[in-house]
Protein backbone atom coordinates (compact mmCIF):
# COMPACT_ATOMS: atom_id res chain seq x y z
CA UNK A 1 0.00 0.00 0.00
CA UNK A 2 1.38 3.34 -1.01
CA UNK A 3 2.14 5.97 1.59
CA UNK A 4 -0.62 8.47 2.14
CA UNK A 5 0.33 12.13 2.18
CA UNK A 6 -2.90 13.80 3.30
CA UNK A 7 -4.81 11.08 5.13
CA UNK A 8 -1.87 9.29 6.79
CA UNK A 9 -3.04 10.08 10.33
CA UNK A 10 -6.76 10.28 9.63
CA UNK A 11 -7.57 7.37 11.96
CA UNK A 12 -5.53 8.61 14.93
CA UNK A 13 -7.96 9.35 17.77
CA UNK A 14 -8.13 13.08 18.48
CA UNK A 15 -6.32 14.10 15.28
CA UNK A 16 -8.88 16.93 14.97
CA UNK A 17 -7.31 18.59 18.02
CA UNK A 18 -4.21 20.75 17.86
CA UNK A 19 -2.14 18.75 20.36
CA UNK A 20 -2.59 15.34 18.76
CA UNK A 21 -2.12 16.79 15.27
CA UNK A 22 1.08 18.53 16.42
CA UNK A 23 2.40 15.34 18.06
CA UNK A 24 2.11 13.61 14.65
CA UNK A 25 4.40 16.15 13.05
CA UNK A 26 1.68 18.71 12.30
CA UNK A 27 2.64 22.35 11.64
CA UNK A 28 6.23 21.31 10.81
CA UNK A 29 5.79 22.83 7.35
CA UNK A 30 4.88 26.19 8.92
CA UNK A 31 8.11 26.19 10.94
CA UNK A 32 10.16 25.14 7.92
CA UNK A 33 8.54 27.63 5.56
CA UNK A 34 8.48 30.69 7.79
CA UNK A 35 11.92 30.17 9.34
CA UNK A 36 14.04 28.76 6.50
CA UNK A 37 12.34 29.69 3.22
CA UNK A 38 11.48 32.87 1.38
CA UNK A 39 7.99 33.29 -0.14
CA UNK A 40 9.52 32.90 -3.61
CA UNK A 41 11.23 29.66 -2.56
CA UNK A 42 7.83 28.23 -1.58
CA UNK A 43 6.18 29.25 -4.85
CA UNK A 44 9.12 27.71 -6.73
CA UNK A 45 8.81 24.48 -4.72
CA UNK A 46 5.08 24.18 -5.41
CA UNK A 47 5.74 24.86 -9.11
CA UNK A 48 8.38 22.14 -9.17
CA UNK A 49 6.07 19.64 -7.49
CA UNK A 50 3.74 19.71 -10.49
CA UNK A 51 0.72 20.04 -8.18
CA UNK A 52 -2.41 20.68 -10.23
CA UNK A 53 -5.54 22.33 -8.86
CA UNK A 54 -7.68 19.71 -7.18
CA UNK A 55 -10.96 21.57 -7.53
CA UNK A 56 -11.66 20.38 -11.04
CA UNK A 57 -9.84 22.44 -13.65
CA UNK A 58 -6.42 20.91 -12.97
CA UNK A 59 -4.50 24.14 -13.53
CA UNK A 60 -0.96 24.01 -12.07
CA UNK A 61 -1.14 25.57 -8.60
CA UNK A 62 2.42 26.95 -8.56
CA UNK A 63 1.83 28.71 -11.85
CA UNK A 64 -1.40 30.23 -10.55
CA UNK A 65 0.56 31.56 -7.58
CA UNK A 66 3.28 33.03 -9.75
CA UNK A 67 0.71 35.08 -11.70
CA UNK A 68 -0.29 36.98 -8.55
CA UNK A 69 0.29 40.71 -9.03
CA UNK A 70 2.29 42.36 -6.25
CA UNK A 71 1.75 46.10 -6.49
CA UNK A 72 3.30 48.11 -3.66
CA UNK A 73 0.97 48.98 -0.79
CA UNK A 74 -2.00 46.90 -2.00
CA UNK A 75 -3.33 44.04 0.10
CA UNK A 76 -3.24 40.51 -1.36
CA UNK A 77 -5.64 37.73 -0.44
CA UNK A 78 -5.69 33.98 -0.36
CA UNK A 79 -9.18 32.50 -0.46
CA UNK A 80 -9.74 28.81 0.02
CA UNK A 81 -12.59 27.38 -2.03
CA UNK A 82 -14.46 24.99 0.27
CA UNK A 83 -17.77 25.41 -1.54
CA UNK A 84 -17.68 21.75 -2.53
CA UNK A 85 -20.97 21.24 -4.37
CA UNK A 86 -20.17 19.18 -7.45
CA UNK A 87 -22.51 16.18 -7.38
CA UNK A 88 -20.39 13.14 -6.59
CA UNK A 89 -17.70 15.00 -4.67
CA UNK A 90 -17.39 14.93 -0.88
CA UNK A 91 -13.63 14.80 -0.24
CA UNK A 92 -13.30 18.35 1.12
CA UNK A 93 -16.06 17.77 3.65
CA UNK A 94 -14.22 14.63 4.78
CA UNK A 95 -10.88 16.39 5.09
CA UNK A 96 -12.30 19.37 6.99
CA UNK A 97 -14.31 17.15 9.32
CA UNK A 98 -11.57 14.77 10.36
CA UNK A 99 -8.29 16.59 9.90
CA UNK A 100 -9.07 20.34 9.90
CA UNK A 101 -5.60 21.36 11.04
CA UNK A 102 -4.12 20.08 7.78
CA UNK A 103 -6.08 22.76 5.93
CA UNK A 104 -5.15 25.45 8.49
CA UNK A 105 -1.48 24.46 8.21
CA UNK A 106 -1.61 24.64 4.41
CA UNK A 107 -3.38 28.01 4.57
CA UNK A 108 -0.62 29.50 6.74
CA UNK A 109 2.17 28.31 4.42
CA UNK A 110 0.31 29.37 1.27
CA UNK A 111 -0.65 32.76 2.72
CA UNK A 112 2.99 33.38 3.65
CA UNK A 113 4.11 32.41 0.14
CA UNK A 114 1.63 34.85 -1.41
CA UNK A 115 2.16 37.65 1.10
CA UNK A 116 -1.45 37.61 2.30
CA UNK A 117 -2.13 39.07 5.75
CA UNK A 118 -5.80 38.12 5.79
CA UNK A 119 -7.12 34.90 4.32
CA UNK A 120 -10.59 33.45 4.07
CA UNK A 121 -11.92 29.92 3.86
CA UNK A 122 -15.23 30.10 1.98
CA UNK A 123 -17.24 27.08 3.12
CA UNK A 124 -20.63 26.25 1.67
CA UNK A 125 -23.37 27.23 4.11
CA UNK A 126 -24.77 23.71 4.46
CA UNK A 127 -21.50 22.63 6.02
CA UNK A 128 -22.24 24.43 9.29
CA UNK A 129 -20.73 21.55 11.36
CA UNK A 130 -17.49 21.86 9.36
CA UNK A 131 -17.53 25.64 9.86
CA UNK A 132 -17.68 25.09 13.62
CA UNK A 133 -14.84 22.56 13.40
CA UNK A 134 -12.65 24.96 11.41
CA UNK A 135 -13.40 27.90 13.72
CA UNK A 136 -12.36 25.78 16.71
CA UNK A 137 -9.17 24.63 14.94
CA UNK A 138 -8.30 28.24 14.03
CA UNK A 139 -8.77 29.33 17.66
CA UNK A 140 -6.48 26.50 18.83
CA UNK A 141 -3.79 27.36 16.29
CA UNK A 142 -4.01 31.02 17.23
CA UNK A 143 -3.67 30.23 20.94
CA UNK A 144 -0.46 28.29 20.15
CA UNK A 145 1.03 31.18 18.19
CA UNK A 146 0.59 29.77 14.66
CA UNK A 147 -1.85 32.50 13.67
CA UNK A 148 -2.23 36.15 14.60
CA UNK A 149 0.56 38.65 15.12
CA UNK A 150 4.24 37.77 14.73
CA UNK A 151 3.79 34.03 14.04
CA UNK A 152 6.57 31.98 15.72
CA UNK A 153 8.53 35.19 16.24
CA UNK A 154 9.16 35.59 12.51
CA UNK A 155 7.35 38.92 12.21
CA UNK A 156 4.73 37.48 9.85
CA UNK A 157 1.10 38.36 10.72
CA UNK A 158 -1.88 36.38 9.47
CA UNK A 159 -5.57 36.39 10.31
CA UNK A 160 -7.67 33.51 9.04
CA UNK A 161 -11.48 33.60 8.87
CA UNK A 162 -14.20 31.18 7.85
CA UNK A 163 -16.98 32.54 5.63
CA UNK A 164 -20.24 30.63 5.11
CA UNK A 165 -21.91 30.57 1.70
CA UNK A 166 -25.64 30.55 1.11
CA UNK A 167 -26.22 27.33 -0.81
CA UNK A 168 -25.34 28.02 -4.43
CA UNK A 169 -23.34 25.65 -6.63
CA UNK A 170 -22.20 28.56 -8.78
CA UNK A 171 -20.13 29.95 -5.89
CA UNK A 172 -17.63 27.16 -6.50
CA UNK A 173 -16.63 29.17 -9.59
CA UNK A 174 -13.84 31.40 -8.33
CA UNK A 175 -15.13 34.80 -9.41
CA UNK A 176 -18.67 33.98 -8.23
CA UNK A 177 -17.13 32.93 -4.93
CA UNK A 178 -15.41 36.31 -4.64
CA UNK A 179 -18.66 38.13 -5.42
CA UNK A 180 -20.37 36.08 -2.73
CA UNK A 181 -17.58 36.82 -0.27
CA UNK A 182 -18.20 40.51 -0.96
CA UNK A 183 -21.82 39.99 0.10
CA UNK A 184 -23.37 39.91 -3.37
CA UNK A 185 -25.24 37.46 -5.58
CA UNK A 186 -22.95 34.74 -6.91
CA UNK A 187 -22.76 35.99 -10.49
CA UNK A 188 -19.42 35.07 -12.11
CA UNK A 189 -17.32 37.98 -13.36
CA UNK A 190 -16.08 38.42 -16.89
CA UNK A 191 -12.40 37.50 -17.18
CA UNK A 192 -10.00 39.22 -17.68
CA UNK A 193 -9.14 40.72 -15.32
CA UNK A 194 -8.30 37.48 -13.56
CA UNK A 195 -8.43 37.33 -9.76
CA UNK A 196 -4.62 37.31 -9.71
CA UNK A 197 -4.83 40.96 -10.83
CA UNK A 198 -8.19 42.10 -9.46
CA UNK A 199 -9.94 39.66 -7.15
CA UNK A 200 -11.41 40.19 -3.69
CA UNK A 201 -12.19 43.93 -3.17
CA UNK A 202 -10.35 44.54 -6.44
CA UNK A 203 -7.06 43.34 -4.92
CA UNK A 204 -4.79 40.58 -6.24
CA UNK A 205 -6.23 37.27 -5.04
CA UNK A 206 -5.54 33.56 -5.33
CA UNK A 207 -8.42 31.10 -4.98
CA UNK A 208 -7.44 27.47 -4.31
CA UNK A 209 -9.37 24.30 -3.53
CA UNK A 210 -9.15 22.74 -0.04
CA UNK A 211 -7.22 19.72 -1.28
CA UNK A 212 -4.72 21.86 -3.26
CA UNK A 213 -3.96 23.88 -0.12
CA UNK A 214 -3.62 20.71 1.98
CA UNK A 215 -1.20 19.22 -0.57
CA UNK A 216 1.18 22.14 0.01
CA UNK A 217 1.97 20.67 3.44
CA UNK A 218 3.66 17.44 2.24
CA UNK A 219 5.29 19.35 -0.62
CA UNK A 220 7.03 21.68 1.83
CA UNK A 221 7.78 18.94 4.38
CA UNK A 222 9.26 16.37 1.99
CA UNK A 223 10.30 18.62 -0.88
CA UNK A 224 8.89 18.98 -4.37
CA UNK A 225 11.09 16.22 -5.78
CA UNK A 226 9.72 13.61 -3.39
CA UNK A 227 6.16 14.69 -4.19
CA UNK A 228 6.75 14.60 -7.93
CA UNK A 229 8.10 11.04 -7.70
CA UNK A 230 4.54 9.90 -7.00
CA UNK A 231 2.22 9.72 -9.94
CA UNK A 232 2.69 9.49 -13.66
CA UNK A 233 3.70 12.09 -16.23
CA UNK A 234 2.12 15.46 -15.56
CA UNK A 235 -0.19 13.95 -12.96
CA UNK A 236 2.01 14.11 -9.87
CA UNK A 237 1.26 13.30 -6.26
CA UNK A 238 -1.81 11.83 -4.65
CA UNK A 239 -5.47 12.66 -5.17
CA UNK A 240 -8.51 12.26 -2.99
CA UNK A 241 -11.27 10.42 -4.79
CA UNK A 242 -14.84 10.45 -3.50
CA UNK A 243 -16.33 7.11 -4.45
CA UNK A 244 -20.10 6.88 -4.47
CA UNK A 245 -23.05 5.49 -6.37
CA UNK A 246 -23.34 1.73 -6.56
CA UNK A 247 -19.85 0.80 -5.34
CA UNK A 248 -19.54 -1.69 -2.50
CA UNK A 249 -17.43 0.54 -0.24
CA UNK A 250 -18.30 4.19 -0.79
CA UNK A 251 -15.97 6.71 0.82
CA UNK A 252 -12.97 8.96 0.33
CA UNK A 253 -9.76 7.32 -0.87
CA UNK A 254 -6.32 8.81 -1.32
CA UNK A 255 -4.72 7.27 -4.37
CA UNK A 256 -1.40 7.70 -6.14
CA UNK A 257 -2.25 9.28 -9.47
CA UNK A 258 -1.73 6.69 -12.18
CA UNK A 259 -3.52 3.86 -10.36
CA UNK A 260 -5.33 1.65 -12.91
CA UNK A 261 -9.06 2.36 -12.78
CA UNK A 262 -9.78 -1.34 -12.69
CA UNK A 263 -7.78 -1.69 -9.48
CA UNK A 264 -9.49 1.35 -7.96
CA UNK A 265 -12.93 0.05 -8.78
CA UNK A 266 -12.53 -3.63 -7.95
CA UNK A 267 -9.80 -4.02 -5.32
CA UNK A 268 -10.93 -4.36 -1.71
CA UNK A 269 -8.49 -1.66 -0.68
CA UNK A 270 -10.67 0.85 -2.54
CA UNK A 271 -14.22 0.56 -3.89
CA UNK A 272 -14.43 -3.24 -3.60
CA UNK A 273 -16.43 -3.62 -6.80
CA UNK A 274 -20.12 -3.07 -7.43
CA UNK A 275 -22.55 -3.60 -4.58
CA UNK A 276 -25.08 -6.45 -4.39
CA UNK A 277 -23.29 -8.56 -7.00
CA UNK A 278 -24.42 -6.34 -9.86
CA UNK A 279 -22.43 -5.44 -12.95
CA UNK A 280 -21.00 -2.06 -13.84
CA UNK A 281 -22.91 -0.14 -16.51
CA UNK A 282 -21.40 3.34 -16.53
CA UNK A 283 -19.08 5.66 -14.65
CA UNK A 284 -18.91 9.38 -14.07
CA UNK A 285 -15.26 9.74 -13.15
CA UNK A 286 -14.86 13.30 -11.95
CA UNK A 287 -18.12 14.78 -10.70
CA UNK A 288 -21.41 15.25 -12.56
CA UNK A 289 -20.00 17.80 -15.02
CA UNK A 290 -17.60 15.46 -16.79
CA UNK A 291 -18.71 13.21 -19.65
CA UNK A 292 -20.28 9.90 -18.58
CA UNK A 293 -18.64 6.77 -19.99
CA UNK A 294 -20.05 3.28 -20.50
CA UNK A 295 -18.22 0.54 -18.57
CA UNK A 296 -16.23 -0.74 -21.55
CA UNK A 297 -14.84 2.66 -22.53
CA UNK A 298 -14.15 3.54 -18.92
CA UNK A 299 -12.06 0.48 -18.11
CA UNK A 300 -10.08 0.57 -21.36
CA UNK A 301 -9.27 3.40 -23.71
CA UNK A 302 -10.33 3.23 -27.34
CA UNK A 303 -6.86 1.85 -28.11
CA UNK A 304 -7.49 -1.08 -25.76
CA UNK A 305 -5.03 0.15 -23.16
CA UNK A 306 -5.97 -0.01 -19.50
CA UNK A 307 -7.21 3.36 -18.30
CA UNK A 308 -5.45 4.97 -15.33
CA UNK A 309 -6.61 7.40 -12.69
CA UNK A 310 -4.61 10.34 -14.02
CA UNK A 311 -5.49 13.62 -15.68
CA UNK A 312 -4.13 12.44 -19.04
CA UNK A 313 -5.40 8.87 -19.13
CA UNK A 314 -8.95 9.78 -18.11
CA UNK A 315 -8.94 12.41 -20.86
CA UNK A 316 -7.54 9.94 -23.41
CA UNK A 317 -9.75 10.00 -26.48
CA UNK A 318 -10.93 13.55 -25.82
CA UNK A 319 -14.70 13.90 -25.51
CA UNK A 320 -15.26 11.23 -28.16
CA UNK A 321 -14.20 8.30 -26.00
CA UNK A 322 -12.67 9.88 -22.89
CA UNK A 323 -13.70 11.95 -19.92
CA UNK A 324 -11.96 14.14 -17.31
CA UNK A 325 -10.43 13.89 -13.84
CA UNK A 326 -12.52 16.85 -12.66
CA UNK A 327 -12.81 17.08 -8.90
CA UNK A 328 -12.49 13.35 -8.33
CA UNK A 329 -16.19 12.68 -7.76
CA UNK A 330 -16.41 9.06 -8.81
CA UNK A 331 -19.96 7.77 -9.38
CA UNK A 332 -20.48 4.17 -10.48
CA UNK A 333 -23.79 3.03 -12.01
CA UNK A 334 -24.90 -0.58 -11.88
CA UNK A 335 -26.97 -2.41 -14.49
CA UNK A 336 -30.25 -1.32 -12.88
CA UNK A 337 -29.68 2.40 -13.36
CA UNK A 338 -31.38 4.40 -16.08
CA UNK A 339 -29.07 6.77 -17.92
CA UNK A 340 -31.95 8.89 -19.23
CA UNK A 341 -33.27 9.42 -15.71
CA UNK A 342 -29.79 10.23 -14.43
CA UNK A 343 -29.19 12.75 -17.22
CA UNK A 344 -32.53 14.39 -16.49
CA UNK A 345 -31.63 14.54 -12.79
CA UNK A 346 -28.27 16.19 -13.49
CA UNK A 347 -29.82 18.66 -15.91
CA UNK A 348 -32.44 19.62 -13.35
CA UNK A 349 -29.51 20.32 -11.02
CA UNK A 350 -27.82 22.65 -13.52
CA UNK A 351 -31.07 24.38 -14.32
CA UNK A 352 -31.62 24.97 -10.60
CA UNK A 353 -28.06 26.20 -10.10
CA UNK A 354 -27.67 28.40 -13.17
CA UNK A 355 -27.17 31.96 -11.89
CA UNK A 356 -29.26 33.34 -14.75
CA UNK A 357 -26.70 35.82 -16.03
CA UNK A 358 -26.16 34.37 -19.52
CA UNK A 359 -29.16 33.48 -21.69
CA UNK A 360 -27.73 30.28 -23.25
CA UNK A 361 -27.27 28.71 -19.82
CA UNK A 362 -30.36 30.15 -18.11
CA UNK A 363 -32.71 29.14 -20.93
CA UNK A 364 -30.80 26.18 -22.37
CA UNK A 365 -30.60 24.23 -19.12
CA UNK A 366 -34.35 24.68 -18.68
CA UNK A 367 -35.10 23.46 -22.19
CA UNK A 368 -32.85 20.46 -21.80
CA UNK A 369 -34.53 19.61 -18.52
CA UNK A 370 -37.98 19.75 -20.12
CA UNK A 371 -36.97 17.59 -23.06
CA UNK A 372 -35.25 15.05 -20.81
CA UNK A 373 -38.27 15.03 -18.51
CA UNK A 374 -40.58 14.08 -21.35
CA UNK A 375 -38.14 11.44 -22.61
CA UNK A 376 -37.91 9.86 -19.16
CA UNK A 377 -41.68 9.91 -18.74
CA UNK A 378 -42.46 8.26 -22.05
CA UNK A 379 -43.54 11.28 -24.10
CA UNK A 380 -40.35 11.81 -26.07
CA UNK A 381 -39.80 11.99 -29.82
CA UNK A 382 -37.02 10.45 -31.86
CA UNK A 383 -35.92 13.95 -32.87
CA UNK A 384 -35.37 14.89 -29.22
CA UNK A 385 -31.86 13.47 -29.12
CA UNK A 386 -30.69 15.71 -31.93
CA UNK A 387 -32.52 18.60 -30.32
CA UNK A 388 -30.68 18.01 -27.03
CA UNK A 389 -27.31 17.82 -28.75
CA UNK A 390 -28.14 21.01 -30.62
CA UNK A 391 -29.11 22.88 -27.45
CA UNK A 392 -26.04 21.61 -25.59
CA UNK A 393 -23.78 22.80 -28.41
CA UNK A 394 -25.37 26.23 -28.22
CA UNK A 395 -24.71 26.49 -24.50
CA UNK A 396 -21.16 25.16 -24.59
CA UNK A 397 -18.59 27.92 -24.86
CA UNK A 398 -21.19 30.69 -24.99
CA UNK A 399 -21.33 31.61 -21.32
CA UNK A 400 -19.24 33.72 -18.95
CA UNK A 401 -18.35 30.84 -16.67
CA UNK A 402 -17.93 27.08 -17.15
CA UNK A 403 -21.33 26.16 -15.66
CA UNK A 404 -22.74 26.21 -19.17
CA UNK A 405 -20.12 23.70 -20.35
CA UNK A 406 -20.68 21.64 -17.22
CA UNK A 407 -24.39 21.43 -18.02
CA UNK A 408 -23.81 20.62 -21.70
CA UNK A 409 -21.20 17.86 -21.36
CA UNK A 410 -23.21 15.29 -19.39
CA UNK A 411 -26.11 15.58 -21.85
CA UNK A 412 -23.97 15.42 -24.99
CA UNK A 413 -21.93 12.47 -23.68
CA UNK A 414 -24.97 10.51 -22.47
CA UNK A 415 -26.51 10.76 -25.93
CA UNK A 416 -23.18 9.96 -27.61
CA UNK A 417 -22.67 6.74 -25.68
CA UNK A 418 -26.21 5.68 -24.72
CA UNK A 419 -28.23 6.76 -27.74
CA UNK A 420 -29.97 3.41 -28.11
CA UNK A 421 -31.19 3.65 -24.52
CA UNK A 422 -32.64 7.10 -25.26
CA UNK A 423 -34.27 5.78 -28.44
CA UNK A 424 -35.72 2.83 -26.54
CA UNK A 425 -37.38 5.34 -24.19
CA UNK A 426 -39.17 6.81 -27.21
CA UNK A 427 -40.07 3.59 -29.02
CA UNK A 428 -41.08 1.77 -25.81
CA UNK A 429 -42.49 4.75 -23.92
CA UNK A 430 -44.98 2.81 -21.79
CA UNK A 431 -42.48 0.09 -20.90
CA UNK A 432 -39.77 2.64 -20.03
CA UNK A 433 -41.81 3.86 -17.09
CA UNK A 434 -42.00 0.45 -15.48
CA UNK A 435 -38.59 -1.02 -16.25
CA UNK A 436 -35.08 0.03 -17.22
CA UNK A 437 -33.11 -0.60 -20.37
CA UNK A 438 -30.56 -2.62 -18.40
CA UNK A 439 -26.94 -3.30 -19.05
CA UNK A 440 -27.31 -4.01 -22.79
CA UNK A 441 -23.90 -4.08 -24.47
CA UNK A 442 -22.34 -1.32 -22.40
CA UNK A 443 -19.93 -3.62 -20.58
CA UNK A 444 -18.95 -5.67 -23.63
CA UNK A 445 -15.26 -5.63 -24.41
CA UNK A 446 -14.31 -3.28 -27.19
CA UNK A 447 -13.28 -4.90 -30.45
CA UNK A 448 -9.51 -5.32 -30.68
CA UNK A 449 -7.70 -2.39 -32.19
CA UNK A 450 -7.29 -2.97 -35.90
CA UNK A 451 -3.67 -3.24 -36.91
CA UNK A 452 -2.88 -1.74 -40.27
CA UNK A 453 0.13 -3.11 -42.06
CA UNK A 454 2.37 -0.41 -43.39
Amino acid sequence: MARKLLLEHINVPGINTFDVYRSKGGYASVEKALKTMSPDDIVEEVKKSGLRGRGGAGFPTGMKWSFLAKPEGVARYLVCNADESEPGTFKDRYLMTYIPHLLIEGMIVASFALGAKTSYIYVRGEMMPQIRILEKAIAEAKAKGFLGKNILGTGYDLELYVQPGGGAYICGEETALLESLEGKRGNPRIKPPFPAIAGLYGCPTVVNNVESIAAVVPIINDGADEYAKIGIGRSTGTKLISAGGNVKNPGVYEIDLGLPVEEFLYSDEFCGGIANGKRLKAVVAGGSSVPILPANLFLKTINNEPRLMSYESLADGGFVSGTMMGSGGFIAYDEDQCIVRNTWNFTRFYHHESCGQCSPCREGTGWMEKVLHRLEHGHGKLSDMDLLVDVSKKIEGNTICPLGDAAAWPVASAIRHFRDEFEWHVTNGAEAITRNFGLAHYADPLPKKEETVA
Binding site: E126, Y161, S288, Y333
Partner: protein, 174 residues
Protein backbone atom coordinates in the same frame (compact mmCIF):
# COMPACT_ATOMS: atom_id res chain seq x y z
CA UNK B 1 -41.31 39.53 -6.18
CA UNK B 2 -40.89 39.25 -2.47
CA UNK B 3 -43.86 37.72 -0.78
CA UNK B 4 -45.12 40.20 1.77
CA UNK B 5 -48.52 38.66 2.38
CA UNK B 6 -47.33 36.74 5.44
CA UNK B 7 -48.01 38.05 8.91
CA UNK B 8 -44.92 40.05 9.75
CA UNK B 9 -44.05 40.92 13.31
CA UNK B 10 -41.83 43.95 13.89
CA UNK B 11 -38.21 42.93 14.29
CA UNK B 12 -35.70 44.15 16.85
CA UNK B 13 -32.34 42.44 17.11
CA UNK B 14 -31.20 41.61 20.64
CA UNK B 15 -27.94 43.16 21.89
CA UNK B 16 -26.38 39.64 21.91
CA UNK B 17 -27.25 39.18 18.25
CA UNK B 18 -25.90 42.63 17.34
CA UNK B 19 -22.68 41.77 19.17
CA UNK B 20 -22.34 38.69 16.96
CA UNK B 21 -22.94 40.91 13.90
CA UNK B 22 -20.17 43.27 15.08
CA UNK B 23 -17.83 40.34 15.51
CA UNK B 24 -18.46 39.19 11.92
CA UNK B 25 -18.03 42.70 10.48
CA UNK B 26 -14.61 42.96 12.19
CA UNK B 27 -13.31 40.20 9.87
CA UNK B 28 -13.30 42.45 6.82
CA UNK B 29 -11.36 45.59 5.89
CA UNK B 30 -12.92 48.94 6.82
CA UNK B 31 -15.76 49.89 4.47
CA UNK B 32 -16.28 46.28 3.31
CA UNK B 33 -18.93 45.48 5.90
CA UNK B 34 -21.26 44.23 3.17
CA UNK B 35 -19.18 41.03 3.17
CA UNK B 36 -20.92 40.20 6.45
CA UNK B 37 -24.29 39.93 4.70
CA UNK B 38 -24.46 36.17 4.15
CA UNK B 39 -23.26 35.18 7.65
CA UNK B 40 -25.60 37.73 9.24
CA UNK B 41 -28.59 36.43 7.27
CA UNK B 42 -27.77 32.93 8.57
CA UNK B 43 -27.84 34.26 12.14
CA UNK B 44 -31.12 36.11 11.57
CA UNK B 45 -32.72 33.03 10.04
CA UNK B 46 -31.52 30.89 12.95
CA UNK B 47 -33.20 33.37 15.31
CA UNK B 48 -36.53 33.84 13.51
CA UNK B 49 -36.80 30.70 11.36
CA UNK B 50 -37.10 32.69 8.11
CA UNK B 51 -36.25 36.09 6.62
CA UNK B 52 -39.19 38.49 6.74
CA UNK B 53 -38.85 41.72 4.80
CA UNK B 54 -38.89 43.56 8.16
CA UNK B 55 -35.86 41.53 9.26
CA UNK B 56 -34.07 42.12 5.95
CA UNK B 57 -34.70 45.88 6.17
CA UNK B 58 -33.14 45.87 9.64
CA UNK B 59 -30.09 44.04 8.31
CA UNK B 60 -29.78 46.66 5.57
CA UNK B 61 -29.93 49.42 8.20
CA UNK B 62 -27.29 47.69 10.28
CA UNK B 63 -24.90 47.22 7.32
CA UNK B 64 -25.66 50.69 5.93
CA UNK B 65 -26.64 49.29 2.54
CA UNK B 66 -29.82 49.55 0.44
CA UNK B 67 -32.72 47.21 1.26
CA UNK B 68 -32.62 45.85 -2.28
CA UNK B 69 -29.02 44.71 -1.78
CA UNK B 70 -30.27 42.41 0.97
CA UNK B 71 -33.33 41.19 -0.96
CA UNK B 72 -31.36 40.31 -4.07
CA UNK B 73 -28.92 38.24 -2.06
CA UNK B 74 -31.54 36.57 0.12
CA UNK B 75 -33.55 35.48 -2.92
CA UNK B 76 -30.48 34.26 -4.84
CA UNK B 77 -29.20 31.72 -2.33
CA UNK B 78 -31.27 28.61 -1.75
CA UNK B 79 -30.65 28.35 2.00
CA UNK B 80 -32.66 31.45 2.91
CA UNK B 81 -36.39 31.05 3.47
CA UNK B 82 -38.69 33.77 2.17
CA UNK B 83 -41.68 32.50 4.14
CA UNK B 84 -42.24 30.80 7.50
CA UNK B 85 -41.21 27.15 7.76
CA UNK B 86 -41.72 24.36 10.25
CA UNK B 87 -39.42 24.42 13.24
CA UNK B 88 -37.59 21.49 11.70
CA UNK B 89 -37.05 21.69 7.96
CA UNK B 90 -36.05 18.29 6.58
CA UNK B 91 -33.96 19.00 3.49
CA UNK B 92 -33.40 15.85 1.47
CA UNK B 93 -30.72 15.67 -1.22
CA UNK B 94 -32.32 14.74 -4.55
CA UNK B 95 -29.30 14.92 -6.90
CA UNK B 96 -27.82 12.04 -8.96
CA UNK B 97 -25.74 9.96 -6.54
CA UNK B 98 -28.40 10.15 -3.80
CA UNK B 99 -31.15 9.54 -6.33
CA UNK B 100 -29.61 6.25 -7.50
CA UNK B 101 -29.53 4.96 -3.93
CA UNK B 102 -33.16 5.84 -3.25
CA UNK B 103 -33.59 9.55 -2.38
CA UNK B 104 -36.86 9.71 -4.34
CA UNK B 105 -38.42 6.94 -2.26
CA UNK B 106 -37.28 8.60 0.97
CA UNK B 107 -38.95 11.87 -0.08
CA UNK B 108 -42.16 10.00 -0.93
CA UNK B 109 -42.02 8.37 2.49
CA UNK B 110 -41.46 11.68 4.29
CA UNK B 111 -44.36 13.25 2.40
CA UNK B 112 -46.64 10.39 3.41
CA UNK B 113 -45.37 10.30 6.99
CA UNK B 114 -45.72 14.05 7.61
CA UNK B 115 -48.86 14.35 5.51
CA UNK B 116 -47.78 17.62 3.88
CA UNK B 117 -46.50 18.40 0.41
CA UNK B 118 -43.04 19.76 -0.31
CA UNK B 119 -42.72 23.29 1.11
CA UNK B 120 -45.83 23.06 3.34
CA UNK B 121 -45.83 23.14 7.13
CA UNK B 122 -47.49 20.51 9.36
CA UNK B 123 -50.49 21.66 11.43
CA UNK B 124 -48.48 21.58 14.67
CA UNK B 125 -45.92 23.93 13.10
CA UNK B 126 -43.08 21.48 13.77
CA UNK B 127 -42.16 20.16 10.33
CA UNK B 128 -41.71 21.07 6.74
CA UNK B 129 -39.62 19.34 4.11
CA UNK B 130 -38.16 19.92 0.67
CA UNK B 131 -35.81 18.37 -1.85
CA UNK B 132 -32.51 20.20 -2.23
CA UNK B 133 -29.58 19.85 -4.60
CA UNK B 134 -26.32 18.03 -3.85
CA UNK B 135 -25.16 18.30 -0.24
CA UNK B 136 -21.67 16.84 -0.83
CA UNK B 137 -22.28 13.63 1.07
CA UNK B 138 -22.67 11.45 -2.01
CA UNK B 139 -21.07 8.35 -0.51
CA UNK B 140 -23.55 8.17 2.34
CA UNK B 141 -26.86 8.72 0.57
CA UNK B 142 -29.69 9.14 0.93
CA UNK B 143 -29.01 12.10 3.23
CA UNK B 144 -30.99 14.91 4.78
CA UNK B 145 -30.02 17.94 6.81
CA UNK B 146 -31.81 20.01 9.43
CA UNK B 147 -30.95 23.67 10.09
CA UNK B 148 -29.97 25.97 11.63
CA UNK B 149 -26.90 23.88 12.56
CA UNK B 150 -27.38 21.69 9.48
CA UNK B 151 -27.02 18.41 11.30
CA UNK B 152 -26.64 15.53 8.87
CA UNK B 153 -28.54 12.26 8.81
CA UNK B 154 -26.94 9.75 6.45
CA UNK B 155 -27.77 6.37 4.89
CA UNK B 156 -31.48 7.01 5.45
CA UNK B 157 -34.03 4.22 5.54
CA UNK B 158 -37.77 4.41 6.24
CA UNK B 159 -36.96 3.12 9.70
CA UNK B 160 -34.37 5.81 10.46
CA UNK B 161 -36.76 8.49 9.17
CA UNK B 162 -39.43 7.18 11.58
CA UNK B 163 -36.93 7.32 14.41
CA UNK B 164 -35.77 10.84 13.51
CA UNK B 165 -39.28 12.25 13.30
CA UNK B 166 -40.25 10.57 16.59
CA UNK B 167 -37.17 12.07 18.30
CA UNK B 168 -37.91 15.54 16.94
CA UNK B 169 -41.53 15.31 18.10
CA UNK B 170 -40.29 14.57 21.61
CA UNK B 171 -37.96 17.55 21.39
CA UNK B 172 -40.89 19.60 20.13
CA UNK B 173 -40.47 23.32 20.48
CA UNK B 174 -37.70 23.09 23.08
Amino acid sequence: MLRVDEQQAPVTFTPELVKQFDDIVSRYPAGKQKSALLPILHLVQAEYGWLSSNAMDKVADYLKIQDIEVYEVATFYSMYFMRPQGKYVLEVCRTGPCEIVGAGKIMDYIEQKLGVKEGEVTADGLFSWRGVECLAACGFGPVLQIGPEYTFYENLTNHSVDQLIADLKVKGNN
